[in-house]
Symmetry: D3
Subunit: 122 residues, 6 copies
């Protein structure tokens, strides 16, 4: 049994499966992945703001893997826990109570990020 | 390894994560949770009918955690197994075959509720 | 210019287009339409309750045409305006603020049904 | 008042608004549009099959403008009316009765395409 | 025939129908509307950022009325056209080509806002 | 601990839960399951094409269980790996980056099918 926590296991599986997707060797898929990465680069809006947009989009569309990814990126881009939670509240209002299980999941992931010391809490 | 069944483990995790959500300490989120609870109180429609509405909404939006929650509440509010299944059939027709995996999940949860003796079966 | 109101025009267009769907002459589609109609017949749950379920499902999935259809059927099955509005509130909480434009549409349709005298208001 | 039918008016508005999107002059958006076009080119699957895939995806996601676009492309790529209707039936089963208003819309658009002589009917 | 443009007509209809929703006189619905308004007030995140979040959420959930509302609020909160377009690009990547018709609609609405002089363009 | 892989465990659970759904003994649900099976029979379109349609519909609606089922059926109906991947690319473009976790899942399932020797790879 692994000593890794849920978030670490997710990162491993994600990396391994991303490799499998690349190995499918489809030009359109590779281009999409490349474009996806570029989307969050600094532009008219900063990476920090765009990662919050990605988080809210992922939350209202209710995808836990996408939520975990964008939570990590939000923390990395410098958003504080309070800012991230305020963004999740927008997702909850727009998306309704069906978002609640994903809000629970996000609260759990925020705990892991806080333990790792990668999340600003003030 | 725990002796608890899937439904019992879900309840534990749900309670623990709901606590984490409350600990995020966001006024908007707390108000939403409060409003959510109030929605299913007896009003022009009874709690029993409103829990069936919540179950069907959760089913067509395809959220297993929400389905489990509303199945429990439906049983508690006095709906029989046959009534709950008739509601799930409406969700299946409105939402289509993409709902089937969630119907399978619901059938499984109904078994747990029946074993616990919390579901009326006639 | 027609003297018909929005709801009357919708009914006309709906009937005309349903005919076109039948004229596509596909056995699977015809069977689905037949099954759809049967779903709301009295069973373990009454037609009245099932139409409320159909209304909430249509609202969280955000389909105005389906909302109009089920509002008519709810009124016909004997639900009062207050009961229908209480069901729409469940849809609003589950589905979030993205449901609001459809709630506005429903409020408008309820006015037409009230004018026609087909909606019980007490 | 225009003599143009609904489909012709849609094409005009679509072309005009696509120009407005290009005029937003955002590199990411332009690249996405380019990639979108390339997706339906002959590859491991033919354009004809991929347009049917695009039609079914648009139908279960319930977007009339996308349905109209892919119906046109399906006809252009050589699918017969019967094949298109068989694809729409898959969308109806997967997506459920909430797809019905879009099936009505599609039946209407197929009539326009048949009148124009761009749809193979046997 | 009215001289008002699409956006002005939308505002009128929206105000009129919001009044109808309030006249339904349901406490839960009124509370939800109140909470919805409060969500976008300055908090850990500014109103300006939260309106961009609302815009992206509305775009991936594909609701034109919500998009128009949040575009107005984004302009009012001081976001420039380039910032708004960069946010819409995030929505396009997360939500896919099914978002394109709504991107077209947004480009059209941005033109109306620019004509009115309520949108910062540099 | 079982020696079965993820796909084998899914098949077992799926069969077991389908039995539970049948045991609910609801005529409407049974008819829906029957109709669902018939939908993919050869008709104006071949089973092979219709399974690709089912796969894309499942992918844009983001249901892993449905994706696994249709991947199996696609392989069984004779589609090659390259054709299946080309179909998944259409789903990615239509559905956006929110589909990526499901694309990862599909890449993983394709590996299992290849190991089993049930997937044509040229």
């Amino acid at each position: 049994m692994s000593d890794k926590n849920r978030l670490e296991l997710f990162r491993e599986k994600r990396a391994e499966q991303n490799k499998k997707v690349m190995d499918l060797d489809h030009l359109g898929i590779k281009r999409f992945f490349n474009m996806d990465t570029n989307t969050y680069r600094d532009g008219a809006l900063s990476t920090q703001t765009k990662e919050l947009l990605g988080l809210v989009a992922s939350s209202v569309l209710r995808c836990n893997d996408c939520i975990d990814y964008h939570l990590e990126q939000c923390a990395k881009a410098g958003s504080t826990k309070a800012e991230i939670v305020d963004a999740l509240n927008v997702a909850l209002i727009v998306g309704g109570s069906i978002v609640i299980p994903h809000l629970r999941h996000a609260a759990d992931t925020l705990d892991f990020l806080e333990e790792e010391g990668t999340l600003k809490t003030d």
